[in-house]
Amino acid sequence: MSVTINASTSSGLVQSADTSGTVEIQSNGTTKFTVASTGAYGQITSGTAVASTSGTSIDFTSIPSWVKRITVIFNGVSTNGSSNILLQIGSGSIQTTGYAGCSISSSTASAVAFANGTSGFNYGSNGGASSVIGGQAIFSTLGSNIWSQSGSLGDSGNTRLYLNGGSVTLSGALDRVRITTVNGTDTFDAGSINILYEG
């Protein structure tokens, strides 16, 4: 049996949760979509776009524990130095150890692979202060707080492409993402950054 509920033309359709705060939509006895007080499972949610025009890092915090995938989006991002873009995640605080991966910097003349290091996912080598970076990096979890990441960032200021892939295990549920630089002292001076998250 199907039931159709028409929305009110004045206030729209409102479905309130019980005291658990959770609304579920089921099909054939299985929950397909859940709306909890911390967000909605099963759909992509946009964070808040922020201008990357100051500061040494940009943090997105209070990421819900049910999130399974996060996309970090770069638009015209630049810093005042030549240190590589570094992505880090954390549970309660930013984790600065245990990252494993590899990165490639490709230009029209050559491609150079280099060690990722263990302090984060290292996108480089940065072409310097003239870098203008766009692209995205995607974090996905395979469970047990293990997160894998891959991404490609294009540097239109230096005609370079930065690729990175790797994984890291957190001590608990991921709740934050940091975008910074390897040396931690370069300052963002252009562009904007946002994240998408989904469960």
Partner: protein, 66 residues
């Protein structure tokens, strides 16, 4: 004062968080270390480039004047 940008997805607020005294001290030490390295690199590059250019140009100019 050095700062970071923090976006809280629960509240939707974006704030500029100033470094703590400890973080600022670490930052200042890192910048000082970078600046200590930079002059050495500049000197090395300058030392290499100047003699090479001088050597090439010096014998050429008298020949043109003559």
């Amino acid at each position: 004062m050095t700062h970071r940008i923090v976006v809280d997805l629960a509240t939707g607020t974006t704030t500029q968080v100033e470094y703590t005294a400890e973080e600022q001290a670490i930052y200042d030490a890192a910048v000082a270390a970078q600046e200590a390295e930079t002059p050495a690199e500049v000197v090395a590059e300058t030392t290499t480039e100047v003699p090479a250019e001088t050597t090439v140009e010096t014998p050429t100019e008298p020949t043109q004047e003559a």
